[in-house]
């Protein structure tokens, strides 16, 4: 089963909008996608499950894919995380200087 470890670089980790973006992207694929942190593994297509992992910036997650086109699915999801999940510096509140 293809899997990859990847570090969350964007500001809010897997919370709020980035969690939604990731779960939506995972749901686009036919294969089963899971995310594991600290030994807990959840369905990546479920935004509620992702939230319960409480992943922050700098945390390492393990993405696993099983099923059709597993390798390419994994590559796309890893690229999405590395690109910052639609978020760069942007926190909702403007960061203090």
């Amino acid at each position: 089963m293809p899997e990859a470890r990847v570090t969350l670089r964007n500001a809010t980790g897997l919370h709020a909008r980035p969690a939604k973006i990731f779960s939506r992207a995972a749901a686009e694929f036919a294969a089963d996608v899971s995310v594991e942190k600290d030994g807990r593994r959840v369905n990546a297509k479920s935004v509620l499950s992702l939230l319960t992992l409480d992943c922050h910036q700098g945390d390492e997650i393990l993405i696993s894919v099983e099923g059709d086109d597993a390798a390419s699915t994994l590559a796309e999801l890893v690229a999405l995380v590395e690109a910052g999940l639609g978020e760069s510096e942007g926190k909702e509140r403007e960061e203090p200087a």
Binding site: S23, L51, Q57, G58, G84, S88, E89, E94, A97
Partner: protein, 582 residues
């Protein structure tokens, strides 16, 4: 007889109107435990209710986006995702397959996730429990045949409730809401945020509110003072009506100041700029009346990517930002990354104390390739917009602790400017004063700086040895501590003695009281979060420079701590929220 209740201010404005008491939250007892029909039918009921809830929430998201804004609309987009969550649906389907009613299955499935969220240490996640409850209640109402459109008043009313959920707030047409008063709740709840975005006055945490209300009674609220009056008498009515008029005038007056320059009542110029962290922030900064930017956090170009941005890419973005602020100064802070904001293209050793480690200018000087690329892009952006009606480039170095660092950074800029055929003397170069050694050594730094910008957040963190993200110690240290004010005063003097202007770009600059104190200390520019600009602009235009100076001198001389210093300043400047009369 009237009843006056004190709560917490949640959204400014004053209103009076008939009380409209919203039905209390859904009671979840007495729901059917077991399915009455076949399991297949029950599953269809379950999926039908979840699907309808999702559809309703997506529609609500669109309505709210139109009335309040995109960020507010996203609250309901997220709610819709919860209703459509595959794991939640799987849990509920399992329960129904075991014979449970759809109602019981929904309540239990939501409870499973609620417990996981509340159990986490994260305040953000715990706060999402209220959002989950809101969605759960909608689904249960659909199942038991209650209306989800929420009850709404037939005329413009003050909405009274135990606590408002975001969907209750959003489901009442805004023209029917004169104001909002709740028995519990907090000014940071989603419902309060919505009220502010909709421009509806609101008071929350009014203990005793519901028991004081009876049918047909009028309620008056003052959202700035955080007060609600049930059954106001004629003089109270008049007072609230006057307050409302003043608030309306104030809103108009603040809006009218948008294109006015920042200055004191006696005409002393104080530039009021916006801190920005993305190109997207520019329109709102202009709309708020921002005079350029005193802090462009360039990290947004670097974070969350595998490779460093190219010179071309950076040039394009910097030029765009300069174009966004015609005729104003735009201060770009060079890359301020540290071990707490890791960049994949910067290899580094793990640090035990990232706040004290290789960060800010230290990292830039260690990585001249990255530093030169960024400076080159800034210089080229300036050249690119030279013939346009664009902003003026200024460059600021973060976390400068010694004069040698500033010299080395300036050398790099001279080198890059020479390669680009530019006279480096044409570019304003400044130092962010945020390290105690930089503040103490300001006179030395001023020889090589065109300006200082005091970063109050980090300066306080380093002065008081307090991690500003650690809640256990976060209340230690404040810009209004008399010794901090005195230190800022010395930095200003050192700057001015060497013809360097001095700004402040920390969060504190957006507090009208602090702004008055800083102007009293001689600060020339305040850069703040955009939403704070109108109030600060208005407050300064009511104060003379002399009044500010006398107030801050008294605070430094007499106050023992920040609280006392604030009392003195607010007493002399009249800048407290409650005393701000329009």
């Amino acid at each position: 007889m009237s009843t006056r209740l004190s709560g917490r201010a949640a959204a400014p404005g004053a209103a009076i109107g008939p009380a409209f008491v919203l039905a209390p939250p859904l009671v979840l007892t007495g729901l059917p435990e077991m399915a009455s029909g076949s399991r297949k039918e029950e599953q269809a009921r379950l999926l039908g209710a979840l699907g309808r809830a999702e559809t309703e929430l997506r529609e609500l998201a669109q309505t709210v986006t139109a009335s309040a804004g995109e960020e507010e609309g996203e609250i309901f987009e997220a709610h819709a995702e919860f209703a459509a969550d595959p794991e939640l649906i799987r849990l509920a389907e399992q329960a129904v397959a075991g014979g449970a009613s759809a109602e019981r299955a929904v309540v239990d499935a939501f409870e499973t996730f609620r417990e996981l969220l509340v159990a986490s240490a994260s305040e953000y996640l715990a706060a999402r429990a209220a959002d989950l409850d809101d969605v759960r209640d909608r689904v249960v109402k659909i199942l038991i045949g209650l209306s989800t459109s929420g009850d709404k008043p037939d005329r413009r009313s003050v909405i009274v409730a135990h606590e408002l959920t975001p969907s209750q707030t959003a489901s009442i047409p805004v023209d029917l809401i004169a104001g909002i008063a709740t028995e519990t709740g907090s000014p940071t709840s989603h419902a309060a945020i919505l009220a502010r975005a909709l421009g509806v006055p609101a008071v929350v945490a009014c203990a005793g509110l519901l028991s004081a209300i009876h049918v047909g009674v009028d309620v008056a609220i003052d959202g700035r003072a955080g007060q609600a009056i049930v059954d106001p008498d004629p003089s109270e009515r008049e007072a609230i009506a006057r307050r409302h008029e003043k608030e309306e005038r104030r809103r108009d007056a603040l809006g009218a100041l948008r294109d006015e320059p920042g200055r004191t009542a006696d005409g002393h110029r104080v530039e009021l700029a916006a801190n920005i962290g993305s190109i997207d922030h520019i329109p709102a900064a202009i709309e708020a009346g921002g005079e350029g930017s005193g802090l462009v956090r360039t990290e947004f170009l670097f974070l969350g990517r595998a490779d460093a941005p190219t010179v071309e890419e950076q040039t394009k973005v910097y030029a765009e930002i300069l174009r966004g602020f015609p005729d104003h100064r735009v201060v770009f802070r060079t890359l301020d990354a540290g071990a707490d904001k890791p960049l994949p293209f910067v290899e580094r050793e793990p640090e035990e104390n990232p706040a004290l480690g290789l960060r800010g200018i230290r990292l830039s000087l260690r990585r001249p390739d990255l530093f030169r690329d960024q400076l080159r892009a800034l210089v080229r952006a300036r050249v690119e917009v030279a013939d346009e009606d664009a902003g003026r480039l200024a460059i600021m170095f973060p976390l400068v602790a010694t004069a040698a660092e500033l010299e080395a950074a300036r050398d790099t800029l001279r080198f890059v400017a020479a390669e680009e055929g530019i006279d480096p003397g044409e570019i304003e170069v400044g130092v962010m004063i945020e390290v105690p050694s930089g503040a103490l050594g300001a006179a030395r730094l001023a020889h090589s700086a065109d300006f200082f910008s005091i970063g109050t957040n980090d300066l306080i963190q380093y002065l008081f040895a307090v991690d500003r993200l650690n809640g256990a110690v976060a209340d230690i240290g404040d810009v209004l501590e008399p010794d901090v004010l005195a230190l800022i005063g010395r930095v200003v003097e050192a700057g001015h003695a060497n013809d360097a202007w001095v700004g402040v770009c920390g969060e504190a600059a957006g507090d009208p009281t602090v702004a008055g104190a800083l102007v009293g200390l001689g600060v020339d520019e305040l850069s703040m979060t955009k939403v704070a600009i109108p109030e600060v602009k208005d407050a300064l235009r009511r104060l003379t420079r002399q009044a500010c100076r006398e107030a801050v001198e008294e605070a430094i001389a007499k106050a023992e701590d920040a609280a006392e210093s604030r009392r003195i300043l607010e007493g002399r400047l009249g800048t407290s929220l409650a005393s701000q009369s329009p």
